[in-house]
Symmetry: C2
Subunit: 314 residues, 2 copies
């Protein structure tokens, strides 16, 4: 029977059909523990994200499941909140569970955390950061290019000239890459990047509220506010609404990520779609290819395209 399943030995078509009929009728499925013990493979991938309630991360999980289920692999999703001792503990759990591969969400993981994974033979895909910063493959979106295209749109299609930037925590990615894209687009258009129109706060709604208040106080106020993510943009909208500033009439606002809330607020946010589901799919595909082919070749980096989503706010 196992030969019919594995296809390792020639079996006549008639026999194959008969065996398959019986397998189907009895609902037979090989016991995964027995199979795992023999093959030293669990056919299971782990995904670790800082916050599952963040729709971006939920979409990563859905994308991975889509691919893994079709290949008879399972995906296990774990949440390990930022700031705290959670990440090493969760990684140890997944390694102890003999995951075949782990996809590590956007984290400031230490080299030690990463080595814990790969040292045990578990395959790794990181969702961000430079390839050379650690072991494993990398899948990420084109953050620099995404922001560059968004700001280009503001300049060329909409004619904005004094464009401010509200960042998250300074130095936390992908904030830096997004700032880079903003700078590139302005430089390209020959526009100034006035120091008093750049502010770093946090990747939250409150950060956006504070940041917008600060930029509106500039001697020559901005006509557009580019925010490092959608939550910041939603907070900036709060501040402008409070002060009776018309969006986009007086000041335009843009976000980044295209989370669900981006279309729920009013005016709906112009933003950049971050292809979370596709990132999850790609990461799963890489891991399964590496596992199925026993591929230990050089690390790979997959960069996924973005897409500017135009709505009412800019």
């Amino acid at each position: 029977m196992s030969h019919v399943i594995s296809g390792r030995r020639p079996v006549s078509a008639a026999t194959r059909a008969r065996v398959e009929e019986v397998i189907h009728r009895l609902g037979y499925q090989a016991d995964p523990s027995a199979r795992g013990l023999r093959t030293q493979r669990t056919r299971t991938l782990g995904l670790v994200v800082p916050d599952l309630a963040n729709p971006f991360n939920a979409e990563l999980a859905v994308g991975m499941q889509e691919i893994t289920l079709a290949h008879d692999y399972l995906t296990v999703v774990c949440e390990a909140p930022l700031g705290g001792p959670y990440l090493p503990a969760v990684l140890r759990q997944l390694v102890a569970r003999r995951m075949d591969g782990i996809v590590l969400g956007r984290y400031g993981a230490t080299r030690r955390d990463l080595d814990l994974i790969t040292g045990s033979g578990t395959r790794l895909v990181r969702l961000g950061g430079p390839l050379e910063a650690g072991p494993g493959d990398v899948v990420r979106a084109a953050e620099v290019e995404g922001m560059r295209d968004l700001v280009r749109h503001l300049v060329k299609e909409r004619g904005y000239r004094r464009i401010g930037f509200i960042g998250g925590e300074e130095g936390v990615e992908p904030g830096g890459e997004r700032f880079q894209g903003y700078r590139d687009a302005l430089a390209e258009a020959g526009l100034d990047i006035p120091d008093d129109l750049v502010v770093w706060t946090s990747f939250t709604r409150d950060g956006g509220r504070i940041g917008a208040a600060r930029l509106l106080a500039a001697t020559e106020p901005p006509d557009a506010l580019v925010c490092a993510n959608d939550l910041i943009a939603i907070g900036a909208l709060d501040t402008l609404r409070e002060r009776g500033v018309d969006v986009p009439g007086q000041v335009a606002i843009t976000g980044y990520d295209n989370i669900e809330a981006a279309s729920l607020v009013s005016p709906a946010l112009t933003t950049v779609l971050n292809p979370a589901r596709e990132i999850g799919r790609s990461a799963a595909r890489i891991l399964m290819q590496r596992l199925d082919d026993d591929d230990h070749g050089p690390a790979r980096e997959v960069v996924l395209a973005h897409r500017v989503v135009t709505r009412e706010s800019a």
Copy 2:
């Protein structure tokens, strides 16, 4: 060594300490496949939800993980969208994977689906529906009481009198339970439930838009709109904003669930907190207790308290 771990045989304190030191130093963890093969247990629970991007479902997953990780169990989250052949396929996967228990989200699962799970010996917790509707235990929030308290608040604290109701798809739970709570509260206050102020649409933002438009057309329009969930309420807000109706000045609006977006819209929604994380925790606790004690006692139902969240919209 296994005796130290299992605690099944007396081992001297000194030996225990020495063994534990070595275990820790080598980072030894029993191979889960070997253990599973021997014990016929995978120490893994499955959670099946219709939509992982829905924060309610994401919170269920986080709550389960919280409990299971602490007990050396793992939780596997699977998405099986409503409407389509996904649910039976996903359940078959989880049963084939020998999950010890499955938590089934709010679904219209057929009796056949449920029997597929319990027939294989897998333990089941359903997140809704009457206990007698199928095998397994049930964990759910107090939906009737939640809506009753919310509407009581509208009547007693806020003085609204003509209170309309926008439901989701008629006959789909938990819509019926929420409608029941609305009726109870009105009856209690001696208020009419005018037929022309009750409308059934769908559990979406669009449903809310359409429902609100219909209720505003009533000969004697409502002074408050009670919506069956937050998305419907957000849609209703859209319609009122479009028509220049002041919320809550002219018409109050309430939601249900307290999803993240409820606090992001403007005015922020008064709603009822649906304790998703606690529901996930309870479901995991029940399953692990049933498994650890080999408990085949009568089915249990756990009902969790709700909480009214007062914001700007009512």
